[in-house]
C-alpha cells in the first residue's frame, strides 16, 4: 500500500511541478491543484496508513494504537480549505490578468 501511495504522490507531484513551470496561467492553476492533492496526501501519509481505523473513539479507555493518527487529518483538512480558497483567488487573478493584459502568459505579456 505504502509503495503505491508513494508512487502516486510522486506522479501527482511531478505532473503538478511540470505544469507549475509552464508559461500559461491555466496550466499553472491546474498544476497548483495537482500539487495540492499531492501535498495533502503527503501530509496524510505522515500519519502512516491504517485501514479501517478512523479516529472516532468510543467512550472509555482508548487504545490509541487502534486508531489512525488524527493530527495529520486535521492538518489536511485545514490545508484543503486553504488551498481551495487560494485556487479560487488565483483563478480570479488570472482571469483579471487575461482581461487586462490580453494574454494568458504568466508574465502578463508574451515572451519575447
Amino acid at each position: 500500500m505504502e509503495i503505491i501511495l508513494a508512487i502516486g504522490i510522486g506522479i501527482l507531484t511531478a505532473s503538478g511541478v511540470w505544469l507549475l513551470l509552464r508559461p500559461r496561467t491555466f496550466q499553472v492553476i491546474i498544476g497548483l491543484g495537482l500539487l495540492g492533492y499531492a501535498v495533502n496526501l503527503f501530509i496524510f501519509a505522515m500519519g502512516r496508513l491504517k485501514a479501517g481505523a478512523p479516529p472516532l473513539v468510543h467512550p472509555g479507555k482508548v487504545d490509541t494504537s487502534a486508531y489512525a493518527d488524527p493530527v495529520p487529518q486535521a492538518l489536511v483538512l485545514t490545508a484543503i480549505v486553504i488551498s481551495f480558497a487560494l485556487t479560487a483567488l488565483y483563478l480570479v487573478v488570472l482571469l483579471t490578468a487575461r482581461g487586462i493584459t490580453g494574454t494568458d502568459h504568466v508574465d502578463g505579456h508574451e515572451a519575447e
Binding site: 501535498v39 503527503f42 501519509a45 487560494l86 488565483y90 487573478v93 502578463g108
Partner: protein
C-alpha cells in the same frame, strides 16, 4: 490561570483586528468614517498592547529574569494545544508591526482606503495575520497565520486594481502559493519524524531524534527553510519582492515591509530554537546556507538598488538587502551581532515603510494612468482617482516639499544605515558584535562587514539620485499635494527612527538582550512546556 483580564493581553493583537474586520463586513460600504475610526481604534489598541507587552518583556519576569508570556488557547497546555508566546523577540516584532501598521493605516485614510472596496477589513486582517505569525508557538498554526497574512496581502496588493498590480499579483500569488506548498511539506515531514508541532516541544525533541529519522527530519526542515527564505526574499528565491512591493499601493507597500521581516523572524526563531549548539546532531543546520544566501541577498539587493529605475523598486531592493543582512547574521551564528541585527531590522523596516509612503507622494502625478485602467462595465465602482472632484486636490501645505524632503533624507539615512540615525546604530552593533571575541579572526565577519558597507553605499547612491530627482529636479508646475494624514503617517515613522536613535541605548540593550535570550532556547522551552514533557 490567574483570573485577570490582563492575562489575555497576548491574544488581543490577533482578535481585535479580527473582530473589527468582522464588524466592518456587517457595515455598509459607504460608512468610511465609522470604519476609519474603528480601524484607528484597533491600531491604537494593538499599539498599546504591544507597548505593554514590550514593557513587560524588557523588565522581565519575577526577579528580572527573562520570561516568555505563554497563552494556551483553549486552555490546552503546550505540546497538545496551540500556544501563543510573547517573548522578547515576538514582542519586538509586535511593536514594530503595530507602528508600521498604524502609519500605513493613517496614510491610507487620506485617499487610499477608498481606492477599492473593503480596504479596512483587509488591512486589519493583514495585521492580524502578521501578529499571529509572530506570536504563535506552533508550527502549523504558523502556517495558518502565514496564509491569513498572505491572503490579505494578495487582496491588498490588488487593492486599487490596474494593470501593474494585476500583473504583479499574478506572479506574487503563484510564488507564494508554491512557498505555501513547501511549508506544508516541511511541516508534514517534521511531524512525520518528530511527532510534534509545538516549537518548544520540537526544540526539546530535536536532540533525541533517532539517528535513522534525522535525515528525513532535516530534509523537512530544509524544505521548510526554503519556504521561509522565499518569504524573507532571500536571493535567488526572493526575486518577486521588488516587483510586488513596488506595484502595491503605498500604504500596502509600507505594511508589506513587515511581511518579509516575518519570514526573517521565523527563520531566526526556528533556527535558534531547533539548531542551537546544544541540539545534538542537528546543531547549526543550514547556518552556512543562511550566511551565504544572506550575503548574496545583500549583494543582489545592493545591485538592484543601483540598477532600479523607479524609487519604489529601489526601496524594494533595499528591503531585500535588509532581510539579507539579518539572515547573514543569523547564519553567522555570532550571538553578539544578533542584537545589532535586530535593531537594524527594526529601524530599516520603519524607514523603508516611510520611504514607500514618500515615494508614492512623489510619483503621484505620473502614476495616474496606471491606477485607473479604463473600466469596462458601466456599473463600475467609482474610485477617487477617476473622479475629478475638488476634494481630490487637497490643500497644499506650505513647505510641504521641504518637510517631505527632510523626511526623505532622514529615512534614506536610516535605510542606508548612515549616521546619525538608527540604521547606523544597528549596523554598528552588527560590526562590533562581529568583531568581538573570536569573530575578528573569522573571514566571514570581514566579508559581512565589507558587503554591508557596500550595500550602505549602494543604497545611499540610489537614494541620493532619487532624492535629487524627486525634490531638486521637481517640476514647479505640478505642486505636491500632501494631506495631513499622510504627513502624520510619515512623520510618525520618522519620529520612531529618531527616537530609536536618541534612546538608542535602551533600544539596543533591548535587542542585544533579545539576542542573548535567543541563544538560550532552553529557557524558552521551559517557559512554554513548564516542565511538562
Amino acid at each position: 490561570m490567574t483570573p485577570s483580564l490582563l492575562e489575555h493581553l497576548t491574544i488581543l493583537p490577533i482578535i481585535l483586528p479580527l473582530m473589527a474586520a468582522a464588524i466592518m463586513l456587517l457595515l455598509k460600504e459607504q460608512r468610511y468614517k465609522t470604519k476609519a475610526t474603528l480601524s484607528l481604534a484597533v491600531c491604537a489598541a494593538i499599539l498599546g498592547t504591544a507597548l505593554l507587552l514590550l514593557q513587560e518583556a524588557s523588565v522581565g519576569g519575577s526577579g528580572g529574569s527573562d520570561t516568555a508570556r505563554v497563552y494556551s488557547l483553549g486552555n490546552w497546555a503546550a505540546p497538545f494545544g496551540i500556544v501563543l508566546v510573547a517573548d522578547r523577540l515576538s514582542t519586538l516584532m509586535l511593536a514594530l508591526i503595530a507602528v508600521v501598521g498604524a502609519a500605513g493605516l493613517i496614510f491610507a485614510l487620506a485617499r487610499w482606503d477608498r481606492a477599492g472596496p473593503r480596504f479596512h477589513a483587509l488591512y486589519l486582517l493583514l495585521i492580524m495575520g502578521v501578529n499571529g505569525a509572530v506570536l504563535t508557538g506552533d508550527l502549523f498554526n504558523l502556517f495558518v497565520f502565514f496564509e491569513v497574512m498572505l491572503a490579505a496581502s494578495y487582496g491588498l496588493l490588488l487593492h486599487g486594481s490596474g494593470e501593474k498590480r494585476v500583473r504583479a499579483g499574478l506572479g506574487y500569488v503563484a510564488i507564494n502559493l508554491t512557498a505555501s506548498l513547501f511549508f506544508l511539506i516541511g511541516v508534514a515531514l517534521v511531524y512525520g519524524t518528530v511527532g510534534a508541532l509545538n516549537m518548544a516541544d520540537l526544540a526539546a525533541r530535536v536532540p533525541y531524534i533517532a539517528a535513522e529519522d534525522r535525515a528525513l527530519f532535516e530534509a523537512g526542515c530544509a524544505i521548510l527553510g526554503i519556504a521561509f527564505l522565499i518569504k524573507a526574499a532571500a536571493w535567488p528565491l526572493g526575486l518577486w519582492l521588488p516587483g510586488a512591493y513596488s506595484a502595491a499601493s503605498a500604504p500596502v507597500a509600507a505594511v508589506f515591509t513587515l511581511l518579509s521581516k516575518v519570514g526573517v523572524y521565523v527563520l531566526l526563531r526556528l533556527s535558534m530554537l531547533m539548531f542551537h549548539p546544544d541540539s545534538g546532531d542537528s546543531a547549526g543546520l543550514g547556518q552556512s546556507v543562511l550566511l551565504v544566501l544572506g550575503l548574496a541577498t545583500v549583494i543582489f539587493g545592493g545591485a538592484g538598488v543601483i540598477a532600479a529605475q523607479r524609487l519604489e523598486r529601489v526601496i524594494g531592493y533595499a528591503v531585500m538587502a535588509s532581510s539579507g543582512t539579518v539572515l547573514a547574521i543569523v547564519g553567522l551564528g555570532q550571538a553578539n551581532a544578533l542584537g545589532g541585527a535586530l535593531f537594524y531590522m527594526t529601524a530599516s523596516t520603519l524607514a523603508s515603510a516611510a520611504l514607500f509612503l514618500i515615494a508614492e507622494i512623489l510619483v503621484r502625478g505620473e502614476d495616474r494612468a496606471a491606477i485607473g485602467s479604463d473600466a469596462f462595465f458601466d456599473d463600475e465602482y467609482t474610485d477617487p482617482f477617476e473622479a475629478d472632484d475638488v476634494e481630490e486636490v487637497g490643500r497644499v501645505m506650505p513647505r510641504s516639499l521641504a518637510l517631505l524632503g527632510a523626511f526623505f533624507a532622514l529615512a534614506a539615512l536610516v535605510v542606508a544605515s548612515m549616521p546619525p540615525l538608527a540604521g547606523f546604530i544597528g549596523k554598528l552593533g552588527i560590526f562590533i558584535g562581529l568583531l568581538e571575541g573570536e569573530g575578528a579572526s573569522l573571514p566571514a565577519s570581514w566579508w559581512v562587514i565589507g558587503i554591508l558597507t557596500f550595500s550602505s553605499f549602494a543604497t545611499l547612491l540610489a537614494l541620493v539620485r532619487f532624492g535629487i530627482e524627486g525634490f531638486w529636479k521637481r517640476d514647479e508646475s505640478h505642486a505636491l499635494a500632501v494631506r495631513s494624514p499622510e504627513f502624520v503617517a510619515i512623520g510618525g515613522l520618522i519620529a520612531c527612527c529618531v527616537w530609536l536613535t536618541i534612546a538608542g541605548g535602551a533600544a539596543l540593550s533591548y535587542t542585544e538582550h533579545t539576542g542573548d535570550w535567543l541563544t538560550r532556547p532552553g529557557d524558552y522551552v521551559a517557559a512554554v512546556l513548564k516542565g511538562r514533557l
